[in-house]
C-alpha cells in the first residue's frame, strides 16, 4: 500500500510544469536553425524562450517545495498562457485547434491552476 501524509497536488503541478518547460525548451531549440539561416530577431526569441523554459522549471521546483511565491507566479504564468491561447483560438488567423494544441495550451494551464488553487490541507510557506 502506498501511503502519503499530505496533498500531492504540488507534486502533480510540478510534473505538469516540467512538461510545459520541456515544450518551451523544444520550441526554442527547434527555432535556433532559423537564426543560423539569417532570421536574427528569432535569435532573441530563442533566448527568451529558453529563459522561460528555465523559469517554468524553477517555478515547478518552487511549487514542489511549497513556496508561496512560486505558487503565485505559476498561477500568474498559467493565466497569461491561457489568455494567449484563448485569444489564438478566437481570432481567425488559422491557429492550430487540434487536440494536442488544446491539451497543451488550454488543458495543461487549467490543470495547473486547479492544482495550485488554495487548499486548506496544503501549507505553502
Amino acid at each position: 500500500m502506498i501511503k502519503a501524509d499530505s496533498s500531492s497536488k504540488p507534486e502533480a503541478a510540478f510534473v505538469l510544469l516540467g512538461m510545459q518547460s520541456l515544450f518551451w525548451f523544444i520550441a526554442a531549440i527547434s527555432s535556433a536553425p532559423f537564426v543560423l539561416a539569417g532570421e536574427y530577431a528569432m535569435g532573441a526569441l530563442v533566448v527568451v524562450t529558453l529563459l522561460l523554459a528555465l523559469a517554468t522549471c524553477l517555478l515547478g521546483i518552487g511549487v514542489l517545495w511549497r513556496r508561496r511565491k512560486a505558487r503565485g507566479f505559476a498561477i500568474a504564468l498559467e493565466v497569461v498562457c491561457l489568455f494567449g491561447a484563448a485569444l489564438l483560438l478566437l481570432i481567425p488567423i488559422g491557429a492550430n485547434h487540434g487536440p494536442v494544441s488544446l491539451m497543451v495550451n488550454i488543458a495543461l494551464p487549467i490543470a495547473v491552476i486547479v492544482l495550485l488553487r488554495k487548499d486548506p490541507r496544503e501549507s505553502f510557506s
Binding site: 499530505s6 510534473v15 527555432s31 530577431a41 528569432m42 497543451v104
Partner: protein
C-alpha cells in the same frame, strides 16, 4: 502530424469517453483514500490511454499484429489503472508506459504508421502519466531517490525523443499533400492533361509578360509593392496591399506579391505570387497538378522582423511568436527553377547563381 487520421479518430472518442468512467470508477473505490492524488491522476490517464488503444482495435482488424498489440496494451493499461494499491504498481506502470512509447517510436521509424494528432495526444497522456507514476510525494520513503532519478532522466529523455522522432519522420516522409514542410498542397489529379499543360503555359506567359516592368524594382515600388521580412535572406516577397485587399484572383496584371532575389547587385525579380484572401479557400487551378496552390499551416510567425519558424508537434511556438496559417498562394517563377515554374519554393542554388552572376 497535425491531422487526425480517419482510422484513429475513434481512439480519440474512446479516450474522451473513458475520462468520466475512470473518474467514476475511482470514486467507487474506497482504497483511493490510501494513495496520493498523483497516483489517482496517473490511474485516470492510464485508463484513458487504455481506452484509446482498445478503441483503435476496430479500425485495425486488418492488421493482425497491430490489433493484437492494441488489445494487449489497452487491457494492460486498464488493469494497471485499477491496480494502484498493488505493491509493484509503480514499476509495472512505468515499464508499460516506457515500452509503449518505445514500441510506438519503433513503429514510426519502421514506417508502419504515420504520426497524427490522436497518436501525439496519446503519447502526451502517457508521458504525463509516467511523470505522475514516478514523482514521490511528501511522506513517501519507498525508493524515493531512485524515483527522483528516474523521473529527472526518463521523462525529459522520452519526451524529447518522442517529439523528435515524430517530427523528423513528418519532415522526412511527408504525404502527397505535404510535400513541403508547413505547406499543404491543393488536391488535384495526378498527371496533367494536355489541356492543363496548355493552360499552365498560358498562365506562365501572361504572368511573365505582365510583371516584366517590375524587373526594375523602382517600378514595383511605385506600383505599391513593399518588401516584407528580413532582407538578409536569399529572396524576399514584396507584397502589394492594394492588390491583396482588392481580392484579385490569379490576375497576372495584379499579382498580390512579387519575389525578388536579394543579390549584391540589388533586388532581381524572380517571380510573382498570387494569394487568395481567406484561409482554406484554394484558387482556380487551370493547370491541374502543375498549378496547384499551397497553404502554409502551423507556422510560428513573429512580428519582430516578420520572421517565421515551424510550430513544434506539441503546438508550441517560441515566446513572441504566434501560430498562424497563410491563405493559399501560387508562385510563378520566371527564372529556371528546378522544382518547376509553379513550385512551392525557389531553389536556393538558382538564387545563388543569380547573385554570383
Amino acid at each position: 502530424m497535425f491531422d487526425i487520421s480517419p482510422d484513429h479518430a475513434i481512439g480519440l472518442y474512446a479516450g474522451l469517453a473513458a475520462l468520466p468512467v475512470a473518474l467514476l470508477a475511482l470514486r467507487l473505490r474506497p482504497s483511493r483514500r490510501a494513495v496520493p492524488g498523483t497516483v489517482l491522476g496517473a490511474s485516470v490517464l492510464m485508463a484513458m490511454a487504455g481506452a484509446i488503444h482498445l478503441g483503435l482495435v476496430w479500425t485495425h482488424l486488418g492488421e493482425t499484429i497491430t490489433a493484437a498489440l492494441f488489445v494487449m496494451n489497452g487491457l494492460a493499461y486498464i488493469a494497471l489503472s485499477q491496480a494502484f494499491t498493488w505493491r509493484w504498481w509503480r514499476i509495472a506502470s512505468a515499464s508499460l508506459i516506457t515500452m509503449t512509447l518505445l514500441g510506438y517510436l519503433g513503429y514510426i521509424i519502421l514506417g508502419f504508421d504515420t504520426p497524427d494528432q490522436v497518436a501525439l495526444a496519446t503519447k502526451l497522456i502517457e508521458l504525463t502519466a509516467l511523470g505522475l507514476v514516478l514523482v514521490p510525494v511528501r511522506g513517501e520513503q519507498r525508493l524515493r531517490r531512485w524515483r527522483w532519478g528516474t523521473l529527472g532522466v526518463a521523462v525529459p529523455f522520452l519526451t524529447v525523443l518522442s517529439l523528435s522522432v515524430v517530427w523528423i519522420d513528418d519532415l522526412a516522409r511527408p504525404d502527397a499533400e505535404h510535400v513541403h514542410a508547413g505547406a499543404v498542397l491543393q488536391a488535384t489529379n495526378d498527371v496533367a492533361t494536355p489541356e492543363q499543360v496548355a493552360a499552365a503555359q498560358r498562365l506562365y506567359d501572361a504572368t511573365a509578360t505582365a510583371i516584366a516592368p517590375y524587373r526594375d524594382w523602382h517600378a514595383a515600388w511605385a506600383a505599391g509593392f513593399r518588401p516584407g521580412g528580413p532582407e538578409n535572406m536569399p529572396s524576399t516577397h514584396w507584397m502589394n496591399q492594394r492588390n491583396v485587399d482588392a481580392g484579385y484572383v490569379m490576375d497576372p496584371r495584379h499579382p498580390q506579391g512579387l519575389v525578388y532575389a536579394n543579390t549584391k547587385h540589388g533586388p532581381v525579380l524572380i517571380g510573382a505570387m498570387f494569394q487568395m484572401q481567406h484561409i482554406g479557400q484554394f484558387g482556380p487551378d487551370p493547370g491541374g497538378p502543375l498549378t496547384s496552390w499551397h497553404q502554409h499551416e502551423n507556422i510560428c510567425f513573429t512580428p519582430f522582423g516578420f520572421e517565421f519558424s515551424f510550430m513544434t508537434p506539441t503546438a508550441t511556438c517560441p515566446l513572441g511568436a504566434i501560430d498562424i496559417s497563410a491563405s493559399p498562394m501560387l508562385h510563378v517563377w520566371i527564372v529556371d527553377n528546378p522544382g518547376g515554374r509553379f513550385a512551392v519554393d525557389i531553389d536556393d542554388k538558382v538564387v545563388r547563381r543569380i547573385d554570383q552572376g
